[in-house]
Amino acid sequence: MPDAMTGPAALAPRLRAVCGADGVVTDPARRRTYESDGITYHSAVPGIVVLPETTGQVAAVVRLCAEHGVPFVPRGSGTGLSGGALPRPDGVLVVTSRMRRVIEVDIPNERAVVQPGVFNLDVTRAAAPHGYHYAPDPSSRQVCSVGGNIAENSGGAHCLKYGFTVNHVTGLEIVTPRGDVVRLGGKAPDAPGYDLIGVFVGSEGTLGIATEITVRLTRAPQRTSTLLAAFPTMDAGGRAVSAIIAAGVLPAAVEMMDALAVEAAEAAVRCGYPEGAGAVLIVELDGAAEDVAAQFEAVTALCRAAGAFAVRAADDPAERARIWKGRRSAFAAVGRISPAYIVQDGVVPRTALGGVLARISELSARSGIRVANVFHAGDGNLHPLVLFDDAEPGAAERAAEVSGAILDLCVEHGGSITGEHGVGVDKACHMPRMFSDDDLATMDLFRRAFDPDGIANPEKVLPTPRLCGERPGVVRGEHPLVASGQAELF
């Protein structure tokens, strides 16, 4: 227990002077509401919570932390899936939920300037009347914050073509772990000197707090066409993906589901996918109308050649939504056919997909643990759902083993332990599977340049001995955000 005289609670009067009485939360029951982010397995009640409204307040809070050696943890909407916003009992949780202003939408320069707490979708909403959108589209976009997206370098279904958050940020105002306000870049690209923006994006709150963000806006495509193809086997579906890529087509999205995932989605939302499919592929094409039309024909032919026994097309939004419905509901749907499951997030080179999926089914057969596969096939980003019954003794352990073994498979095939959910606390101890001690020490060198005293989101991203050995996050039932219809687990 932190000492009341020296711990974060002792800072309360000074924090109130900065953020106002209603901007500081000390009440234990209210603090408890922040105890975890999107994975509830990791939880800790924050020592104190602050809700600043301005950059100046964030800076003053961080300066107080720095002066007193108190750790702080930034938090946006708390939808992160790697425990990145896991609070510290001995620290201050800095929540950006009162910083939700879209400061400027500048169409001629194709930029928007926003505060960090702004919801991802609200950037697109502000730009949409002008025919523009904010391209990174995590499926949590209705509720996740742009600050959180910056920290996680979030992607979405369309990042295959449009890239990740890092490709869409040209300016940041940050509060460093010492409490200094620093502006990096702005509306112009290529800020001079080292590309600190490029590394800050994806740093998971360990380099400071983003307090103002300038993002690129993207012109909406003239035409979007979506195609659903059903294959007898995953192998055939995988061959279609390879053939599409080899033909030089760059779809906006390529998503795949296996039979178990389709079965679950069908039971949950009656998406009406073709019966008897061993694999369902969703391909979305967008861009100039002439281009989309030509590519659509090519993709349809390639799917048929790879063995698709049914192909459906959608050009209007309602039809498109029907195709996406099953895919979007897949995670939640799996929650209904299994008492508990683990969502894994790993990446393999696209050409290794077939081999890795076969190894996953072997793992599943050997352990008696069912695995449903729903994934971003275009960029090899797997989201296996490892299903188990937590009432059955030993099942959780076996599921955790299978889930860990899947990550090992990803690394073995030259892939990554995370494609979009981040490292946080959840995968910090998996980092040595991918990086050498020297690699990790070099990352730490960079971190220390920003945060010499190690007070910004400590024990996240880079492994520490204390962290390792803990089990990965387990989801029980439906995620509350999904249940309330605010987000889809994708």
Binding site: G186, K187, P192, A246, L250, G287, N381, S436, V461
Partner: protein, 409 residues
């Protein structure tokens, strides 16, 4: 340090080395010794020895940018990466991993045979991968595909203390750990020596068309540029080319894609611009720097609408001898000041253009040889300079890597 001492200091590494000559000079600074390592462990051994003996180190690829940037204040050891030339092309994954010394031209040819490309324009013919990435310059295609840094998905770098470290990986989608490759892209070798780079690739489009139009000056072109950006034709590049002399500025719009679509898309753009010039060839100089080989080159980065304003100020001070080539769609390009432009004039050009561009930057990429040794405010105000200095202090505490090239005052 003299060549004998340096050769003795690195002798135990067994790496091939020789005394430096005038031909090896980096912006006029002649290295005492030039070493040619064959792989990352040899680079590690060299930098480890250099650290133990306090040697100042610079890296070079093929030397095509020897005149770029500030002169190193001293160079005991030049590490030439030319032997680190391996290329592993993972064709089905649209990824290529290359040694730092691999030639960009060769890489381009190899990928082209597989129907793929690195969407980084040539910029400087003869350059290596490492030099290109360390300088971090991007051409016309950056508008659609992003600057060079967006194409780098993994990197191995040898630090000042000789430790080799990697970040990123060989898959495009990857958020594990800090993406330090971003730091070294455009880092001028001041934080480490790049030994290998992994890039994401794109398919070569089936067809392209180029629409050309002329306008009296960049301000007159701004409206048409805006119209093209607001259209849904998805141009791959929107380039301005303003040659020296009092003539017009040329605007080029590149569309790439399915053969069935490019004519209609180009036609739509031509109508927007009131242009009739539609071709299926790129103009001379496309994707390279403007100006004569030895002229001074400035890099201008601006908000899209700020670029014409900056170019007007540039011409007002630099006169019609100066030229510009760059992306009106991205807001980034290069201005060439003719050989013979004195240091005072360059300083005035920098000051006036910077004044016209409060939300952007104007930096000196390369200076003509007659300006060597003269003071130039090549960076202007660098937001975040203090943090950058903190990074430099961590990675290279003794400031031995390319000292004087960036932020060592």
């Amino acid at each position: 340090m003299g060549p004998e001492q340096v050769l003795a200091a690195i002798g135990a590494t067994g790496v091939r080395a020789r005394p430096g000559t005038g031909d090896d000079a980096v912006v006029g600074t002649v290295p005492a010794v030039v070493a040619r390592p064959r792989d990352t462990p040899e680079v590690s051994a060299l930098l480890g020895a250099a650290a133990r003996h306090g040697l100042r180190v610079a890296a070079a690829g093929n030397g095509t940018k020897r005149d770029w940037g500030a002169a190193p204040t001293g160079c005991d050891l030049l590490v030439e990466t030319g032997e680190l030339a391996g290329i592993e092309h993972a064709r089905g994954d649209l990824v290529v991993r290359t040694g730092a010394g691999a030639p960009m031209d060769g890489l381009r040819a190899l990928l082209g045979r597989a129907g793929q490309r690195l969407t980084a324009d040539p910029m400087v013919p003869g350059a290596t991968v490492g030099g290109t990435v360390a300088a971090g310059v991007s051409g016309p295609l950056r508008m659609l595909h992003g600057p060079l840094r967006d194409l780098v998905i993994g990197m191995t770098v040898v630090r000042a203390d000789g430790v080799a470290a990697s970040s990123g990986g060989v898959v495009v989608k990857n958020v594990a750990g800090f993406d330090l490759g971003k730091l070294h892209t455009g880092g001028w070798g001041t934080l480490g020596v790049i030994t290998s780079v992994t890039f994401r690739l794109h398919p070569v489009p089936a067809a392209f068309r180029l629409v050309g139009a002329r306008f009296p000056d960049p301000v007159a072109a701004a409206g048409p540029v805006g119209a093209v950006l607001a259209s849904q034709a998805v141009p791959a590049a929107v380039e301005l080319d303003w040659p020296p002399g009092g003539g017009p500025v040329r605007l080029f719009v590149l569309v790439e894609g399915a053969a069935e679509g490019v004519d209609a898309r180009a036609g739509g753009i031509a109508a927007l611009l009131g242009a009739r010039d539609v071709r299926d060839a790129l103009p001379d100089g496309w994707g390279t720097l403007p100006g004569e080989p030895e002229c001074t080159v400035l890099k201008i980065a601006a908000p899209i609408r700020g670029l014409p304003v900056a170019l007007t100020a540039l011409r007002a001070e630099a006169g019609t001898g100066c030229s510009f080539r760059g992306s009106a769609g991205a807001g980034v390009g290069y201005a060439a000041l003719p050989v013979g432009t004195g240091a005072d004039r360059v300083a005035r050009v920098l000051a006036r253009t910077r004044d016209a561009l409060p939300d952007g930057s104007v930096t000196v990429l390369r200076q003509s040889p007659d300006l060597r040794g003269l003071p130039l405010d090549r960076w202007g105000e660098v937001p975040g300079a203090e943090l950058m200095r903190a990074v430099k202090d961590r990675f290279d505490p003794a400031h031995r890597l390319a000292p004087g090239r960036f932020l060592d005052h």
